[in-house]
């Protein structure tokens, strides 16, 4: 910790600083993956093909962006995947079994989702337990509720028949419809995903709340010491993730008009992986919404690209693991860069 060392390190090149943009790794990955599949499959690069792989990217992307905000804020949410199922199940069950209007059923789903997010946030901030454990608990509880309640009401593990419910047409057009662009129809979910990414980016880099999110994830005590309402910020982040889960759950329920009681299980890690590929540090305080959205596109491409190439779909998980490793290694470089100069 000599003065000379301080001064040497302080002169960091601008180029190097640009290199640590959180999205950089994801952008490189995006180009590589696109070129890889596009070069071998003409369908992959056709407008219809693009619409095809942008669709899974969109629903995953909405979640990944919300999860990225939460991770930048220093927390995890393992219940996010199952909560998409819970929201969808509430929507379809209320609309088909209890005569609710679809819009009202969606509102009920939203209220429940936000309540779950609020509870996650409250427990984490009050008890200071790791969110990994707290939301693992919520995850298991919701998984049980999803299956138990669905079985009790329908006697099966799915609810269906949403198409006949009142208000279905309008809600479906808004969340599950398609828009034609130059003769190709794209899922409207893609627009919601772009909107969510844009709003999240604005909040992160252009709002007071964004500054607080980076701060509570970077060093919660330091943030609190300068007056940042850390607990409120974190609770709001958990509720944002819950909101995204509700949106995605509703989109999928309206699209398929039925919901399996076990839907969303295992997705929570995919969201985290997409966020990490997009440059989020697992330790919090760093990342980007655009990066997470790009991470989701890489997933969409690989998911559909593997099918277009006629490969076995099992290769997808191999790809997933490889991407995760590469992204984490890239992240570690960032981390080391930041730590090397602090002492």
């Amino acid at each position: 910790m000599t003065v000379a060392a301080d001064e040497r390190i302080a002169h960091v090149g601008t180029a190097r600083r640009l290199l640590i943009r959180p999205e950089l790794g994801a952008v490189v990955g995006l180009v590589v993956v696109f070129v890889f599949f596009a070069a071998q499959s003409p369908v992959f690069r056709s407008p219809a093909g693009i619409a095809n792989w942008l669709d899974p990217a969109a629903t995953l992307g909405i979640m990944a962006v919300a999860v990225a905000l939460l991770m930048i804020g220093g927390e995890f949410d393992l219940s996010a995947g199952v909560l998409t199922g819970t929201s969808g199940l509430i929507l379809v069950t209320l609309a088909t079994r209890f005569g609710f209007n679809v819009w009202l059923a969606m509102l009920a789903g939203l209220v429940v989702a936000l309540a779950v997010g609020f509870a996650n946030g409250l427990i984490v901030t009050r008890t200071r337990l790791p969110s990994f454990i707290v939301t693992l608990g919520t995850f298991l509880m919701l998984q049980g509720v999803n299956l138990g309640v669905t079985k009790a009401i329908t006697g099966t593990v799915q609810v269906s028949g949403l198409r006949r419910a009142e208000g279905f047409e309008g809600a479906s057009a808004l969340l599950a419809g398609t828009v034609a662009v130059g003769g190709t129809s794209f899922r409207v979910a893609i627009l919601w995903w772009i909107l969510v990414t844009a709003v999240a980016t604005w909040v992160l880099v252009r709002s007071k709340a964004g500054n607080w999110i980076f701060a509570v994830g970077g060093n919660e005590q330091a943030a609190r010491a300068v007056g940042v309402p850390a607990a409120r910020t974190k609770i709001a982040l958990f509720m944002t993730t819950a909101f995204a889960a509700w949106l995605v759950g509703s989109i999928l329920a309206l699209r398929y008009t039925s919901v399996q009681a076990n839907i969303g299980i295992g997705q929570e890690f995919i969201y985290i992986i997409a966020a990490v590929i997009g440059g989020c540090l697992l330790t919090g305080g760093y990342g980007s919404a655009v990066g997470a959205a790009i991470g989701a596109v890489i997933f969409g491409m690989a998911d559909k690209g593997i099918v277009f190439l006629g490969w076995d779909a099992d290769w997808f998980t191999f790809f997933l693991g490889a991407m995760l490793l590469l992204a984490t290694l890239a992240n570690r470089l960032v981390r080391r860069y930041a730590e090397q100069v602090r002492h």
């Binding site: 390190i9 600083r17 007071k208």
Partner: protein
């Protein structure tokens, strides 16, 4: 504004469970004055300033701001009364840029948005006004040296209208030159009329800037001196427990 002290504690105390961290400590600081709080590790220095800063609530004695007794509810409450604190370990967020750190918790608004352009410009201007030479306010705070980081935190407190600046061992992790940089900004804040509470365990850092010296040991005040009452040597001897130091010197002498 009254000519009395900005901050005052009367027989203040604090326990953590069975640990008596602080007992019967009285001190005060006036505008344009530097009060140094000295003591060995575990003496209760951080506990004292965390009470002053609104992080902890005292459980004995009285805490007065502008002559009125208060019970601060949070660091925000302290900040609103013009009491700003720069902590030894948690001053800044390393992965965030200098300007984001500078305005953290008090972001300027423009409609709904955080006025980013203004934050950048003001941070640059304020740092320059304090004579702090930061190459680029966009660089992450983690890339600054320790002294630069403390200086930015001081400039931030001054900018946000602090009347009292509390510094918890800002120089303890620094080399000689960097510590000098921080002491210079501390003196500049004092010259601007701020009351400064400067915590350190290094009498060589305290003596040149201090007006008053409060010595803590095992949670209690073991002496309070004005600059005229004590020399740097005496202060050092008191700090180290003079006899102990002599013994050590003896022990370490080459045979």
């Amino acid at each position: 504004m009254s000519a009395g002290p900005l901050l005052e504690t009367r027989g203040i105390g604090k326990t953590f469970g069975s640990v008596l961290a602080l007992r019967e400590v009285s001190m005060s600081v006036a505008a344009g004055q530097v009060v140094c709080v000295l003591g060995d590790n575990g003496a209760g220095k951080s506990t004292l300033i965390k009470i002053l800063a609104g992080v902890h609530r005292h459980d004995a004695g009285a805490y007065l701001v502008d002559g009125e007794e208060v019970r601060l509810t949070s660091p925000r409450d302290a900040l609103d009364r013009g009491i700003a604190t720069v902590y030894q370990d948690l001053a800044m967020i390393p992965l965030m840029s200098v300007w984001r750190n500078f305005f953290l918790g008090s972001e300027p608004r423009k409609g709904l948005a955080f006025d980013v352009a203004r934050a950048r410009r003001v941070a640059r201007e304020e740092l320059r006004a304090m004579g702090i030479d930061i190459r680029d306010v966009d660089q992450p705070v983690g890339t600054l040296s320790g002294g630069e980081r403390q200086s930015v935190a001081i400039a931030r407190a001054v900018y946000f209208g602090a009347r009292v600046l509390i510094l918890d061992e800002p120089t303890s992790a620094l080399g000689v030159k960097q510590a000098g940089v921080v002491l210079r900004y501390l003196a500049r804040a004092r010259d601007r009329g701020l009351g400064v509470v400067f915590i350190t365990h290094n009498p060589h850092h305290a003596y040149p800037v201090g007006d008053r010296f409060l010595l803590l040991n095992r949670g209690t005040a073991v002496g309070e001196y004005g600059k005229d009452d004590i020399t740097a040597q005496e202060l050092t001897a008191l700090m180290a427990g003079g006899a102990e130091l002599e013994e050590l010197a003896h022990e370490l002498r080459r045979e």
